[in-house]
């Protein structure tokens, strides 16, 4: 059951990743990328990391990609029929890339020892909320806080750059 789901998610994830790259329309590409993220979340959930899975959807699919899509849609109008035809190279990419990636997966799979390597693998740490909290808020608290300071610096910098020049408080 779990391995069926895993392969389902994996194939969908790879397929949507290919579609992301080959889509002519930036909006369609973004939508495919969201689908890719959702499938990645599925894989995370199968790997006993529900917290990570939910955060993948909540943050990447739900927040970041929405903003991306938002900006893309603002900048790009709908694709007109005459723009929809594909370029020859993209057709080649569609033909070549899926088999290539399938081959890579196959090689990796064989190298790791077949089906059991994936379905039977249990991570050392279970990805529940408690486990993540233990790691972030106890063991690596300092690093976690430092990273938040770095992010704060980034936010302040973005705000400073985003302001109009004459309004800069120190000028």
């Amino acid at each position: 059951m779990e391995s069926i789901l895993f392969y389902l998610f994996a194939v969908l994830m790879l397929g949507s990743a290919v579609m992301t790259v080959t889509s002519r329309s930036a909006v369609a590409a973004a939508v495919w990328l969201v689908f890719c993220f959702v499938n990645a979340a599925g894989v995370f959930a199968l790997l006993s990391a529900p917290f990570l899975a939910i955060l993948q959807i909540l943050i990447y699919a739900g927040a970041i990609m929405v903003l991306f899509l938002f900006v893309i849609m603002m900048l790009q109008g709908p694709v007109l029929p005459d723009e929809r035809e594909r370029r020859p190279w993209s057709r080649i990419a569609v033909l070549v890339l899926p088999p290539a990636s399938a081959a890579v997966i196959l090689i990796a799979w064989l190298a790791r020892g077949g089906v059991t390597a994936f379905s039977g693998a249990q991570p050392a740490v279970r990805g529940t909320a408690e486990a993540v909290a233990e790691l972030l808020l106890n063991r690596y608290l300092l690093a976690f806080e430092l990273i938040s300071v770095v992010l704060l610096v980034a936010i302040v910098g973005a705000m400073a750059l985003g302001r109009r020049k004459e309004e800069l408080p120190w000028k």
Binding site: S25, A28, A63, V66, F70, G77
Partner: protein
Amino acid sequence: MELVVSSLLKIAFLLTVILGLVPVLIWAERKGSAFIQDRTGPNRASVLGIRLGGLVHPIADVMKLLFKEDFRPENAHRFLYALAPFLVFFIALLTYAVIPFGDFIRIGGVEYQLVVADLNVGILYVLAIASLGTYGVVMGGWASNNKYAFLGAVRSTSQMISYEISMGLSIIGLMLIFSSLRLTDIVAGQGGAIWNWGFAMQPLGAILFIVAVFAETNRNPFDLPEGESELVSGYHLEYSSMKFALFFMAEYTNMVIGAALITTLFFGGWNIPWLTRSVIEGHAGTILPVHLVIQAVVMGLISLLFFRRAARERDKFGDARDREPGFMGVVTALMALGAAGSFALKPWAIGVDAASIYATLLQVGAFVGKVVFFCWVFIWVRWTLPRFRYDQLMGLGWKVMLPLALANVVLTAIWLAIV
């Protein structure tokens, strides 16, 4: 296999309740707004003269929408245009998976949890799915290739992102108090006295959450994405037929989710104050007869009212509609008789298993009742408050609700550390 069957049954139950609630809510919206504005509201559509106070109208609406022309604007993005309404509706339904609508039901000695998926990150799941809801709206708005629809989508997106943050932060206090992300734990923690309910422990969080839920569902006073006066009707402007109906139903489905979440997180979920499961099971022989008597008396009174009206308005319309009060009187009288007649089954001598099921039913009923009440609150608020201006909306979201939610988190944490 048993897991699959029981899950399917639970899903079927939830879908029945929710999809059944949608037309009722549409009716309540129309009738409620009418009564608030001193109008009669819908009362025309009838089946053999039976109008059920306008409840036939949603059915007629569905028939109308089914048979309407399903057009697609020129230069719309074919795929996304078709996908958007399904996505909106699908995502709206997904959230129900983690909402516990009852404690458990014991059948044949086996206890079944009354929740489809009891995730240990249930609250986060709710938030994650809710954040995906934006996609349907933004896709629909963009793929329609209409500037008003797109503006509606843009507004919706920014509004949802803004209020999602306050929404997430407003329930962190609750998570801290119940020290769980699992919704069943949170509901179970609210059992017993009414001051155990979330809104009593987290009054600020409750208000913030309710406001944020209103904003997330795009309901008045936060219905700027629809903004009839400036955006024609917002992101679903170019949709017709069942595609439009899906958007419309998704709005009401979201409303039911919102009500269910408010109930689950802050109003005790399926809990009945003081009447815990053990109390109900222990005194089922008293509670059930009282329950039946109340039901019989209330239904009897209602049927009397209908009969009185039937006598008074014998020839009001001169057509099939004149038979309606009499029919309703007969139906309600039968319900009263049914309640009275069940005394023949000796409800005071109820068995242990039956008492357990009765307790479950009461709890599920309490949950549904609370959800329906909060749905009515959605409608009630919509027809009371005016719409926000866009800058006011953003100001409220970022400058008022976000700091308040953060303060709520900090204060709750400090309080928990002290206690």
